[in-house]
Amino acid sequence: MGVVRNVLDDGLGGLEHNFITGRIEDLVKWSRSRSSWGATFGLACCAIEMMGTGGPHYDIARFGMEVFRASPRQADIIIVAGRVSQKMAPVLRQVYDQMMEPKWVISMGVCASSGGMFNNYAILQGVDQIVPVDVYAPGCPPTPETLIHAIETLHQQIEDGEIMRRRAKSGAGANIHITEIPAQTSPVSVSLGRPATSWTSS
């Protein structure tokens, strides 16, 4: 086997160079945040923007949401994209209940977050009345940049593990409100204030 450059070949002595150690919990949190699959819960216009975000131009496959699973058994994040009508509310609750743990909810668009411009008999005024919401993405429809920002915020929360403690304790959502990013033609840089977690800092 060729000699690998500048690696101390002193047998067991070089152990710490060749192995990364870390807590299993960090590994699990990292893997959960880096490969979370979305459940297709596209309802109205926001669903078209959600598909656009999955499309080649914005491509959330870069963030681990490679594919949108239709069945709740294989999905981690349910993105409620669009207005929820009174007839659809029990269906949303049923799909949310049938999702496997751990699961998170992104309420995409103002209609899902608060009923939006349709304050009338037919629309549920806010999805947080029936499912615990973690991230609210504002916009009508939210631009793909805003949705990616929402997904990344949720990934950051998953990676910190803070969101799991909250859900275990009270089952409530994290209720994070993010700011909208208007569609741009040039790339967007968003700082999440990501603290350097311990084991990646070596």
Binding site: D97, E101, P102
Partner: protein, 154 residues
């Protein structure tokens, strides 16, 4: 004994991998069983009527075909592994063996085990279903002149 070490090592690794994934999911995944999770998933609708137990027979026929060919492969596998030593005679013996299987398959298909729906329907539209039909040949362009009546008034 030495030559069986890899086999032994592989089985241990296999068992280990299987057990590890079970133990890991039991330890790490949060468990919140609920009746909705046990209920069958029917596109978000709470099922009210029980699905019938009896399924049409055409499903079983296709399953049988699969099992038949599966077993055939199991028999061919030992031959395939040491094909060099066995020589031509074994090849023809295997060939005869698979022809017998193939005849059974032809019989079942001829009896119509595989045409469930569209084949019958496509026969009804025989000229519509053709390999040469392209996306520009199947349409006709109707300009202003192609109007059913001939007055051109807008």
């Amino acid at each position: 004994m030495g030559q069986y070490l890899p086999v032994f090592a592989l089985t241990v690794l296999g068992i280990l991998f299987g057990a590890l994934s079970f133990v890991a999911s039991r330890l790490l995944a949060p468990r919140r069983p609920s009746s909705a999770k046990e209920a069958p998933y029917e596109c978000g609708i709470v099922p009210t009527r029980e699905p019938p137990e009896r399924f049409p027979v055409s499903f079983y026929i296709v399953a049988m075909l699969f099992i038949m060919f599966d077993i055939e492969i199991i028999f061919i596998y030992p031959y395939a592994v040491n094909r060099a030593e066995l020589g031509a005679f074994a090849f023809w013996e295997m060939f005869a063996f698979s022809v017998v299987f193939f005849l059974a398959f032809v019989y079942v298909v001829a009896r119509g085990a595989l045409d469930w729906g569209p084949v019958a329907k496509a026969r009804r539209l025989v000229d519509g279903v053709s390999a040469t039909r392209t996306s520009t040949s199947t349409i006709r362009r109707v300009g202003l002149e192609g109007r059913s009546d001939n007055d051109q008034a807008a």
